[in-house]
Subunit: 226 residues, 2 copies
Amino acid sequence: MELNVGALPKVVRNPEASRAKILEAARIEFVSYGLSGGRVDRIAAQSGVNKNLIYHYFGSKDALYLEVLERIYADLRARQQDENLRGLPPVEGMKRLVSSTFDHFVATPDLIRLMSIENIHYGEHLKRSKSTKPLYGGLLDTIRILLKRGQQEGVFRANVDPVDLYLSISGLAYFFLSNQHTLSWLLDRDLAARRRVLKRRAHVVEMVLAYLTQASSFEADDVDVE
Amino acid sequence: MELNVGALPKVVRNPEASRAKILEAARIEFVSYGLSGGRVDRIAAQSGVNKNLIYHYFGSKDALYLEVLERIYADLRARQQDENLRGLPPVEGMKRLVSSTFDHFVATPDLIRLMSIENIHYGEHLKRSKSTKPLYGGLLDTIRILLKRGQQEGVFRANVDPVDLYLSISGLAYFFLSNQHTLSWLLDRDLAARRRVLKRRAHVVEMVLAYLTQASSFEADDVDVE
DNA sequence: GCCGTTATTGACTAACTGGTTAGTAATAGG
DNA sequence: CCTATTACTAACCAGTTAGTCAATAACGGC
């Protein structure tokens, strides 16, 4: 029983695939051009679906962007396999925590760009998200555990704020990646070059470990607030 | 000889003031909404001049943005009074360099945002700038000088790349400022709070100095690239 | 086989956006 | 004074943008 003989091509329906294609195109679009710079028409063209299907599934440009953002953040935590570092010797565990954080940032430039983009928009979208917030306790816990064990064993200094340590580990890797375009130009060096990245990785690990393993000799005393 | 009697209000001409008002409005607009999100009409309305005057003086939205960007970067280097740190004892000089860099970032959030915005656009505008590039040798030189003297006096470790050190000093301050909106939400802490900022300042100084003053004991050997 | 639901589409729109046209008048130089 | 330049304006334009309408047809349950 031949249906559709010499007729209009049967429209294949595949909601999951359509949704996925839209999300993939949207990710690329927003990562490339930002939220204000991203174009819904381009997302539709790129994903090969009709523009209205985007509104059917996601409701608005902002909601689509939020979905992209939530997925990226969820990925971040999912890939961050830090729990298995908790049992390692503190110095070794911390080395691995720093270098794997670094590697993860290097491996996912999309994440870096979306984080920047979201902060340009004052984090307004993420704040409206329901799903992202609970995900973040884990990494901080790992830092706390390693820190405490290292201090008990006498290899790490006392009085280290885990939040500050987290901000430092991330910041040391983040800045030279997020700003690599302006920095490469201003410093006359290709910061994206493989050798540079590896060198930076070693430097970052070294700096964090030096800080942790040195007895806190410098009081933050005489550096006055201007 | 009264001219303009009971007639149309004489149009006051003041090119410098108009130009300045446009630039000021443009700075606020681009810092608030980004380049793609910034609106020329809004800049015109805010500065109180006719929109075409913007095109008369600057030619295009992009060119206006570039001018704003160049001024912010020029300010950065102008305010960075690092030359007078070169004569200080190395440890003291470096402490001041780190804390003043930190303070400067805290004091000029516009700079942070424009740096992020420009990097979202892959640094394309800055690269086209003629005026900005030569400004950057100075800070790196100050770092080199302090570093060398500290090494000669035996208080700083050997084999420190000045560029990496610069990236670390900046990164430690930059990240928690540029991403404070998302981080405050994710970490459940108000990173903009005065106490937090001061605490972070001390931590950053401490980390950099700990790194510099510790003999380089940890080889970057067994941390393998994944 | 019938029917409500839903995936999908093309055509459309109202508001907006960067940029232009065409013109007026203040000003500086001679 | 005369004239060329320049500061400045109002109105307009063509193209774009996010979002909508109305219709079609594939699908799943009965």
